[in-house]
């Protein structure tokens, strides 16, 4: 496999963690209560830690011509390969939880396969991350149930988020050219095979939460090819501000 393909494959996984981590970090000091504030920022921290492991590996593959910071902060919008789901704004807590749950359910299935990758480093990162993501999923699915089976208002709000974010779920299972190359070599995961299991898990949780499973058949995609929603530019200007304003700054 060409190194560049592998690097792009790594971005496809790592960018999801970076962008979702960035969204969750926005809640620091703004969570609905102390416990959820701490939970969301803890999850963000796990995701950023995973991102660093992936980017450090990508930088090494690139012959250290770029650093992990360059990868995180100095690419342009089209060079980010995250799915549209993770860049969607926080809106209200129902959206935060639904976005998290929709991603966690996928993330765990992905990592369970990625740990068998023939690439030693990707396998090691996956094995480490599985332990963290299992915790994330427990948190987000608990909240789906609590809000769905809660008060009239909480139920209405979480259902609104589920209906609204549902259209971003199908993209998770789309295979890009880099994905296909990585799968052929036993390095990558064939995400299209995770789809059935994913919707089964999601439906079971939504039903337990007494929520209505959307029947929408129209889905949005593009993020994995670098074509993002209008929210991405704002997110990146926030994320990249320091490195762009003070180039090469370090902690």
């Amino acid at each position: 496999m060409e190194k560049e393909n592998l690097i792009q494959y790594i971005y496809g996984i790592a960018d999801n963690a970076l962008i979702l981590g960035q969204r969750l970090s926005e809640l620091c000091g703004h969570g609905p209560n102390l416990e959820t504030d701490i939970a969301c920022t803890n999850i963000a921290l796990d995701l950023l830690g995973q991102t660093r492991s992936y980017y450090q590996y990508a930088a090494k593959l690139a012959g250290e011509k770029v650093s992990e910071d360059d990868i995180a902060f100095l690419r342009t919008e089209r060079q980010y390969k995250n799915v549209l789901l993770v860049e969607q704004p926080n809106n209200h807590f129902g959206y935060v939880i639904t976005r998290q749950f929709f991603y966690d359910a996928f993330h765990l299935l992905l990592l369970q396969e990625l740990q068998n990758s023939s690439d030693e480093t990707l396998s090691a990162i996956a094995k480490k991350a599985i332990k963290e993501v299992s915790y994330h999923q427990r948190f987000s699915s608990d909240w789906i149930k609590r809000l769905g089976d809660g008060t009239e208002v909480s139920r209405q709000k979480i259902q609104e988020a589920v209906n609204d974010l549902w259209k971003f779920t199908d993209e998770l299972f789309q295979l890009t050219e880099d994905d296909k190359n990585a799968v052929e070599l036993g390095i990558g995961v064939d995400v299209s095979l995770l789809k059935e299991k994913y919707y089964q898990i999601v439906k079971e949780t939504l039903e337990e939460a007494t929520l209505i499973v959307p029947e929408l058949k129209w889905f949005r995609k593009g993020g994995k090819e670098g074509i993002h929603s209008e929210h991405m530019g704002y997110l990146l200007s926030d994320l990249q501000y320091m490195q762009r304003t003070y180039p090469n700054m370090k902690w």
């Binding site: 796990d46 492991s53 094995k127 480490k128 427990r138």
Partner: protein, 167 residues
Amino acid sequence: MTIELEQHIDPKLYSILEKVSDPEIPVLSIMDMGVVRYAQVIDNVVQVKITPTYSGCPAMDVIGDDIINAFKKENIEAKVSLILSPAWTTDWITPRGRVALEQYGIAAPLEENADKEALLGNKKIIKCPQCGSTDTKMISQFGSTACKALFQCESCLEPFDYFKCLK
């Protein structure tokens, strides 16, 4: 990033490594924490490999610097690198470390053979480090640091940190 399956530490280096503590839980040495996986002298340089408790654990950079400084005090050069596999588990915390945690007011993670139901809060077996009662409940799955959850004792009513069980 390399893979270090077995802990491989030169006994002569123990006394220095013991002096380095976890910056977020100062009563615990990094040896009791089980994060040091490898320490050997190669060509007069101590090579140390540490593994993070959580991927994003902000303490890792500090621990790396502290190790280098601890050896520097003895006029020894040290180099620290990070390894990810095998992934850290709470089973690597030493018995002495578990006692230190309890005395510090943090409930130690459940042991290897413990009932997984307890993690989900379905069974009450986590002991309050203040009064020893097992009549405790989980308030939040996430606590003051990535490795802890927040609990409360129903008996003495004190809230306390619980070191999350990571397998």
